[in-house]
């Protein structure tokens, strides 16, 4: 299936082309970037439409030898979970381009090239099934993101970009060590030295080394998610990034972390992960409450939404480590929902900043009357973020807590408290930004057609995810069932080991 290659190559080559030819031709660069991202979206929709699952749940697999002597392949594969995340990636592409239309004032061609390169990297992360290839894409998506923040960001952009890069690179180096460790352990056992994901799935790991390798992966993913103690890069990066950068960061980059947990941490190290699950859930619940509490006291809207991302991603981790049917389904669904919702909220804050020149809540207020359409959109996405039933986040959060409830009632209660805390800070934000008396008098312009289209895509997605998530959930059934089998096997294994 060469369409998978297209998914990665189209934005990469398109970006290269725009970057080389679009110098000083802003309009051309804008329309070309829009065309490339839209084409990407169409391809993904087509793939979704014709998808027929194979025997092991994989819809499409591409396998080409790359460096055969070291067992490295160019191995791409798409199962239901990666399909959904690829869909999200493709969906946010045109949105990111559309919201940057006028807010990026210099060097549009380079900007477009970097956006597309990031998209290609993220696509690669979601598709790669060879560990070395995965690592390559994992790093590839960082570099353009670093430049996006560093070149087009706000006041403290260099500090934020530097911090972002330092954190994530440190994490991913640990992952590299773990990958190599897994490679050698597998090679010594079977005599086949390979980075092939499918082969490595059958590795029998000794308990202690399994735990260490799992932790290597986990730290890299935890930094990306980000979980509680290593989250401090996220508010800075989100706040300083340009709008499109924030959308890609919050909507997609964070998902690579949770995707990594689902794709690598759990299946490669089922025993270690089963032992680790309570710790993972604790970290998740700390993230939920901690993010929600800190969001309440932020003055900067972008920072507030950044902390809310920590809270929501805490839910996802929560669901993943609950490791049952509802929890995993909910986690995947919430990943999608959070991508759409938070992406839209960052877009809205960006539009608000273009109009008012500030993101500080103390300087905003009363904008619902001059900007009714923007206010209504913000209300919709705020409601979705706080888990209003019928909108995107609800189904995911509901399933996660239903899943967690079966593991531990205490955790579930804490999660429910997190939802209440979410209502508190989100409503407070909405009230301070939109309600009350207008603090600044100027010529307010409501959303124009371009912005309405960009948000309209997301509105449709939010309503669809909330009201009829069956088409999405259908894709997840087979992979989730496989994961749960692993868990039951692992639990049985640890139980045997104990007796």
């Amino acid at each position: 299936m060469y369409w998978l290659n297209m998914l990665i190559l189209l934005p990469l080559l398109g970006g290269l082309l725009i970057g080389l030819t679009g110098r000083n031709r802003t309009t051309f660069a804008q329309w070309a970037a829009l065309a490339v991202t839209s084409a990407e979206l169409l391809i993904v929709l087509g793939l979704w439409w014709v998808a027929t699952p194979g025997a092991n749940g994989y819809l499409y697999v591409v396998r080409v030898p790359w460096i055969p002597t070291m067992g490295i392949q160019y191995l791409l594969g798409m199962d239901g979970i990666s399909l959904l995340l690829v869909l999200l990636t493709a969906l946010l592409g045109p949105v990111a381009v559309l919201v940057s239309w006028h807010s990026i004032r210099h060097n549009w061609s380079t900007f477009a090239a970097l956006i597309l390169a990031t998209q290609a990297g993220i696509m690669g992360v979601f598709l790669a099934l060879d560990l070395v290839l995965f690592y390559v894409f994992w790093e590839l998506m960082l570099v353009p993101m670093y430049f996006l923040i560093g070149l087009w960001g706000h006041e403290r952009r260099l500090y934020a970009a530097y911090k972002f890069f330092l954190f994530t690179v440190t994490g991913s180096l640990l992952m590299l060590v773990a990958i190599l460790g897994l490679y050698f352990v597998h090679g010594e056992q079977t005599g086949i030295y390979t980075f092939d994901y499918f082969e490595l799935l059958h590795t029998q790991l000794p308990e202690s080394s399994g735990m260490w390798l799992m932790l290597g992966f986990f730290v890299a993913f935890a930094v990306k998610i980000p979980l509680f103690p290593v989250h401090s890069w996220l508010p800075d990066a989100h706040t300083e990034a340009p709008t499109a950068g924030s959308i890609l960061l919050a909507g997609l980059l964070l998902k690579t972390g949770t995707y990594g947990l689902i794709r690598f941490c759990l299946p490669l190290f089922p025993e270690a992960s089963a032992i680790f699950a309570p710790v993972g859930m604790t970290l998740g619940v700390i993230g939920i409450l901690y993010g929600a509490l800190l969001a309440l006291v932020q003055e900067d809207m972008k920072r507030l939404i950044a902390y809310s991302s920590i809270s929501h991603l805490g839910f996802v981790v929560f669901g993943i480590y609950a490791w049952n049917l509802q929890g995993l389904n909910g986690a995947v669904l919430l990943m999608l929902a959070h991508g759409v919702t938070t992406g839209a909220m960052f877009a809205l804050v960006g539009m608000l900043e273009e109009r008012s020149g500030t993101r500080a809540l103390t300087h905003l207020g009363g904008l619902l009357s001059p900007l009714p359409r923007l206010g209504a959109m913000l209300l919709l996405f705020t409601l979705s973020a706080m888990g209003m039933p019928g909108l995107a986040n609800f189904a995911g959060e509901f399933l996660i807590i239903a899943g967690v409830f079966q593991i531990s009632v205490g955790f579930a209660v804490a999660g429910a408290l997190g939802i209440i805390a979410g209502v508190i800070y989100l409503l407070w934000m909405y009230q301070r930004a939109m309600l009350g008396e207008v603090k600044k008098n100027r010529a307010w312009i409501d959303l124009n057609l371009r912005e309405t289209v960009a948000l309209g895509i997301l509105v449709i997605a939010v309503l669809w995810l909330g009201l009829y998530p069956v088409p999405f959930l259908d894709n997840v059934q087979v992979p989730v069932a496989t994961l749960i089998e692993l868990n039951t096997a692992a639990m049985a294994g640890t139980a045997d080991a104990l007796h």
Binding site: S232, L293, S369, L379, L427, M434
Partner: protein, 671 residues
């Protein structure tokens, strides 16, 4: 008819969609008409359901599967049994009337699109709530009406009071909602099923009466009901919610949303029957809330706040009935209450609107000149609320509840509470009536109401009187249509023996009359200038707001701020210091290699020890940890400054370093 069931919530939903999508194209006047048509369509659909025989045969419809997770497939499905039929009739009927009333009431507003959108959406949500055949869908609509309540309370969002009230309502009810959600999760984790009928069968089959799980479940569901119905201790949002427009107060905060909790308990009563303790708790909450609401209403000066506290108190009666197992009677009171409380709100709204948004009852009395229709309809509503014997609907519904309370556990005590509440009810509502309509201002007025406002008032006034006649008190000759019809679904209420019942009924019918008398006396005292005992305490609603603010909200904010400080200091600070530490360490290593002089290292060590000793002494003397850390950092930074001189940027030094490294490597490899 079954396959057209979706029309009942669908019609207002469609109306809301039309308003939000195409509203920009319509003129202001037509927005109201679209909204009214949608409400009327829903009402017509309900009428059709009656005609199609829903009263005898429950109807079912499944629209589509909502999500699929393994074997569990919650659906979007409706079921219309008798309980639901009562509710949809009340909701769609009152809803239609309030929509009509809004046409004239809101005619001057600029932002009607938002108003009608949320009003229609609310109607859809409420009907969906009533029709839902599984708990998940019920929870969806439960949240949806909470949202609409938030948006409509805060409709005049430019006033911070309104916006705050909306947010408060949303958050407080959301606390209850979280409890309900946990209850749903508990049920789900036990039975892997959320469809109501299936749940009840398995719950009654698997749980024993009084088992812990049953108690926990009932308690959690009760939490949800208490939040939405504004019962103790989550009642604080309702009085503030009066900041919204009057029609909204009439529809949401009198007729429908606050009765959602009553409906929820009536709907899930098999679960409550499994937990008698919780059932008694429901009774106790109801009894306490009756007295709480009535006493707080006594001291209010804001016209609408009186009605709000009155609503709290009246919903308490419904809870009382629910706790006693008299579900049909609770529903009966719900229905009559919807009529007379909506009537009271609408006529109060008409008065307030005619007096240019004056809310204070004393000032209203001084202004005078209220429309006569509003006055008469308010009087009818007040009579019905206080339960004036024989001629009002309120008498029939409240009296039945009072009578059935006697036979509950601790019945006489509960009865005393309820009866005391009834007395207070008559006092406060007639105090308000007398102050507003018989104040010093001019009494006669020719001001007439617009027709679309008058019609709902007339209809509701009629219903406030006649709707009681379908169910005569226990032991009286006359029809008992209501309880007979609902018996199959909700069972019969238990009454004490006939002699006791008759005695109770006599006392209950005397109470309102006594209350009206007391109201006159109280008014005299007030005009002389003697305040009510405990007036401030009562006016602030027993100080609940201040109490919650001092304990919960402040603590929450303090925790958030503390965590922010911790975040800034500990985590960020530690990271920076770690990086600086690494840098300094690296430089020290390099310096040591380059100079290679042992004395220097020794001198440094001595100096370090000295500095350490000094720092230790200072630390001990001052007893402050921060100082030592700060000194350490300063020392590291000093070392860093000194040692970074080696990184001089000279090309040849770097080249030398490279070649030295190569020589070293080669030497290592060769030998």
């Amino acid at each position: 008819m079954s396959q057209w069931l979706w029309l009942i919530p669908g019609a207002p939903l469609l109306g809301a969609l039309i308003i939000v999508l195409l509203g920009g194209l319509l003129r202001r006047k037509y927005l109201a008409i679209v909204a009214c048509c949608a409400a009327a369509a829903a009402f017509l659909a309900v009428l059709l359901a009656w005609l199609a025989g829903a009263a005898s045969q429950p109807m079912q419809q499944t629209l589509y599967t909502w999500m699929t997770v393994g074997d569990w497939q919650p659906v979007i499905g409706f079921s219309l049994d008798r309980l639901a039929l009562v509710m949809v009739s009340v909701v769609s009927g009152v809803g239609l009337l309030v929509h009509l009333y809004s046409i004239a009431f809101m005619a001057e507003e600029t932002d009607q699109r938002r108003y009608y959108f949320f009003l229609n959406l609310f109607l859809a949500g409420m009907l969906l709530l009533v029709l839902a055949d599984n708990l998940l869908l019920l929870y969806l609509s439960w949240e949806l009406i909470g949202l609409c309540s938030y948006a409509l309370i805060g409709f005049w969002h430019r006033k911070p009071l309104s916006a705050n009230a909306g947010r408060k309502a949303f958050i407080v009810t959301r606390i209850g909602d979280a409890s309900l959600a946990l209850g749903i999760f508990l049920l789900f984790s036990q039975f892997q099923e959320l469809s109501l009928t299936a749940l009840f069968t398995s719950a009654t089959a698997e749980w024993e009466t009084g088992s812990q799980l049953a108690i926990l479940t009932a308690l959690l569901i009760l939490g949800g009901a208490v939040g939405k119905s504004a019962q103790l201790p989550l009642q604080v949002w309702l009085p503030d919610a009066m900041a919204g427009p009057s029609p909204v107060s009439a529809l949401l905060h009198a007729a429908t949303i606050v009765t959602a909790g009553v409906y929820l308990i009536a709907r899930t009563y098999p679960l409550f029957e499994l937990a008698p303790q919780i059932q008694w708790l429901v009774t106790a909450i109801g009894a306490l809330t009756i007295v709480y609401g009535a006493s707080a209403a006594l001291a209010q000066t804001d016209f609408k706040r009186i009605l709000a506290y009155s609503t709290i108190s009246q919903v308490g009666y419904m809870f009382l009935a629910l706790g006693c197992g008299a579900y049909a009677l609770a529903l009966f009171h719900l229905t009559t209450h919807a009529f007379f409380k909506a009537l009271l709100f609408l006529s109060a709204g008409a008065v307030i609107r005619a007096s240019e948004d004056e809310h204070d009852i004393h000032n209203l009395g001084k202004l005078g000149g209220h429309p006569p229709l509003a006055r008469w309809s308010f009087l009818i509503g007040a009579a019905s609320l206080s339960g004036l014997p024989f001629i009002t609907a309120g008498f029939y519904s409240k009296d039945a509840i009072l009578a059935t309370t006697w036979s509950a556990p601790a019945g006489p005590l509960l009865w005393a509470f309820a009866a005391f509440g009834a007395l207070l009810t008559a006092i406060y509502i007639f105090r308000a009536y007398l102050l507003v309509f018989h104040g010093p201002g001019p009494r006669n007025s020719t001001a007439s109401l617009p027709r679309s406002m008058a019609l709902p008032l007339l209809v509701l006034a009629l219903l406030s009187i006649v709707s009681g006649f379908i169910e005569f008190p226990e032991g009286w000759p006359g029809p008992h249509l209501w309880s007979a019809w609902l018996e199959a679904e909700l069972g019969l209420a238990i009454f004490p023996s006939h002699t006791i019942t008759y005695n109770l009924q006599i006392i209950a019918s005397l109470l309102p009359l006594a209350g009206i008398g007391l109201a006159f006396i109280l008014l005299r005292r007030e005009q002389v200038g003697q305040p009510l005992p405990l007036e401030n305490f009562l006016r602030t609603g027993w100080g609940f707001d201040a109490f919650y603010h001092a304990t919960l909200i402040r603590a929450y904010l303090a925790l958030a701020r503390l965590l922010r400080a911790v975040d800034a200091l500990l985590i960020q600070g530690m990271l920076t210091k770690m990086i600086h530490g690494y840098l300094a360490f690296a430089v020290i290593c390099r310096q040591g290699m380059e100079r290679g002089a042992i004395e220097k290292a020794l001198a440094m060590m001595t100096r370090g020890f000295l500095a350490f000793a000094i720092i230790c002494r200072q630390g001990v003397e001052r007893g402050v940890l921060e100082d030592s850390i700060a000194n350490l950092v300063a020392g590291l930074r000093f070392g860093h400054m000194r040692l970074s001189a080696t990184q001089n940027g000279l090309l040849s030094r770097y080249a030398l370093a490279v070649s030295a490294g190569v020589v070293f490597l080669l030497g290592y490899l060769l030998w």
